[in-house]
């Protein structure tokens, strides 16, 4: 059974429908204590990063998610549920120092930043874009060059990862990258974590195939 975490950040209906379509029973979970019962956990989400962190914390869901991931549960983050895994986001934050920006779950090294629309780039990115994986073992690399549906104004910046090479969070971390104004980290695989900026539940046959493969891992 798959748990889809409902923390009031957008519609989780499409994610439920997609798993039901591939005959993988999934249900929404609002109570962090109940998360233990599930083998597969999905953190979806659409909306603002600071509010999402607040909503997770209010329910103690942030700790529950971290514990289950630590236990090795098969985890999938989608869109905002991907961004939340990083150290911080500059969404609704006017400062310049990542250290004082809104903190994320800190399971991955990197910071979430806003696309720069001054160069004429349309923000949000809405539409299909391809991914380019850096790994050759996991799920993502099987979708190298394939297209997925993106809707987002913020992206994961992992450009300084090399400087934190010895950081335990960076070990075994494989990103896929996508071009939109700049090259950004569009998805990640790290041990039992898979997470993506795009919406597999809205990415047609490739998206459905990706979900199918994730459930099986």
């Amino acid at each position: 059974m798959i748990a889809i975490i409902d923390y009031e950040m957008g519609n989780i209906g499409s994610v439920l429908k997609a798993f039901s379509y591939i005959n993988c029973p999934a249900e929404e979970v609002t109570d962090p204590d109940k998360l233990k019962k599930y083998d597969n956990i999905v953190l979806p989400g659409v909306g603002a990063f600071p509010k999402a962190m607040d909503n997770l914390k209010k329910r103690n869901m942030d700790q529950a998610v971290k514990e289950e991931i630590k236990k090795g549960k098969n985890f999938l983050g989608i869109c905002l549920g991907y961004q939340l895994l990083f150290e911080s986001s500059e969404e609704d934050f006017s400062g310049t120092d990542d250290k004082t920006a809104v903190k994320g779950l800190c399971l991955l090294s990197g910071h979430v930043r806003k696309f720069n629309s001054e160069s004429g780039l349309k923000v949000p990115q809405i539409g299909w874009n391809s991914i380019d994986s850096t790994d050759n073992t996991g799920i993502l690399h099987q979708f190298n060059g394939r297209y997925f549906y993106f809707v987002h104004s913020y992206y994961a910046d992992v450009t300084n990862l090399n400087s934190t090479k010895n950081d335990v969070k960076s070990l075994n971390t494989y990103f896929s990258f996508t071009e939109y104004g700049k090259r950004f980290a569009s998805a990640v695989e790290k041990d039992n974590i898979m997470a993506c900026q795009f919406h597999p539940e809205k990415s047609g046959d490739d998206g459905i195939e990706l979900l199918r493969k994730w459930v099986k891992t």
């Binding site: 499409s14 429908k17 997609a18 004429g120 949000p124 539409g127 299909w128 297209y147 809205k202 990415s203």
Partner: protein, 253 residues
């Protein structure tokens, strides 16, 4: 690589796909779910459902259609046609629509866009604009299915919609709509350059070159067509391959 989108539009009457020219002589063209699946299979990037049901039971039928489509077709889709209130947005998005397009109601009550955008996010709010070229060469916005002229210039209204919180513009040229003589390139370029959100061009698609022109000269981010695809005059797979060969980035699946 970021791609340009090709979007078929389906007219829905009482829960069925209908084909007709200028809403006359409507012919039943099948089940929305099956039609949506067929479009997904040929590589449509998104779908737009335009509800043209003119009866009081309108809303419930459309909600049930949306629910069914969302359970079986996993590409983004927009629902429009007679959207008036925040409750309409809530109900359609809950039923599984990804975006809701609003036209007349946005002109009459611009705060609807802002409210919907704040509640559901800008990505859910599509501002549909019907525009017509006037004798003096300006492009004005029309509402109520093209019957009533407003005092808004198309580019100004598009900019206003973006400020209000719309995430995309669906721009229809009333002059080219149904003609199959090509999209209105001047209008599309003007609006697309006026806003910083994606513009979907609609009205006038007839040949592959029309799509090429509107996605290049027209600066559109996406192109929409209805009858051309319904009547199998142009296959989406072939269209996308032809566009790719002409150097346009499209999703080939």
């Amino acid at each position: 690589m970021y791609t340009k989108r090709i979007i078929p539009c389906l007219d829905i009457n009482k829960g069925r796909v209908v084909k007709g020219i200028n809403f006359l002589d409507l012919v039943d063209a099948g089940d929305p779910v099956e039609t949506a699946k067929a479009y997904n299979a040929t590589g449509a990037d998104e779908l737009v459902f335009l509800d043209i049901t003119a009866s009081y039971e309108k809303r419930d039928i459309m909600l049930s259609t949306v629910e069914k489509v969302a359970s079986e077709v996993f590409i983004p889709f927009t629902v429009g046609g007679g959207i008036r209130t925040i409750d309409d947005f809530t109900a359609l998005l809950r039923a599984g629509a990804d975006k809701v397009s609003v036209n007349t109601a946005a002109i009459l009550n611009p705060s609807l866009i802002t409210k919907a955008s704040e509640m559901f996010g800008a990505q859910c709010v599509v501002a549909a604009i019907d525009a017509k070229k006037e004798k003096d060469g300006s492009y004005m916005v029309y509402i109520n299915g093209g019957r009533d002229k407003t005092s808004w210039h198309a580019a100004d209204w598009a900019r206003k919609c973006e400020k209000l919180g719309a995430g995309e513009i669906l721009l229809t040229s009333m002059d080219t709509d149904g003609t199959k003589k090509g999209f209105e390139l001047t209008l599309t370029k003007m609006v697309s350059e006026s806003v910083n959100i994606p513009v979907i061009a609609s009205g006038g698609a007839g040949r592959i070159e029309d799509f090429y022109d509107v996605l290049t000269k027209g600066h559109a981010d996406a192109a929409l067509a209805a009858s051309l695809f319904h009547f199998h005059e142009l296959d989406i797979t072939e269209l996308k391959k032809a566009l790719r060969d002409k150097g346009i980035s499209v999703r080939i699946h």
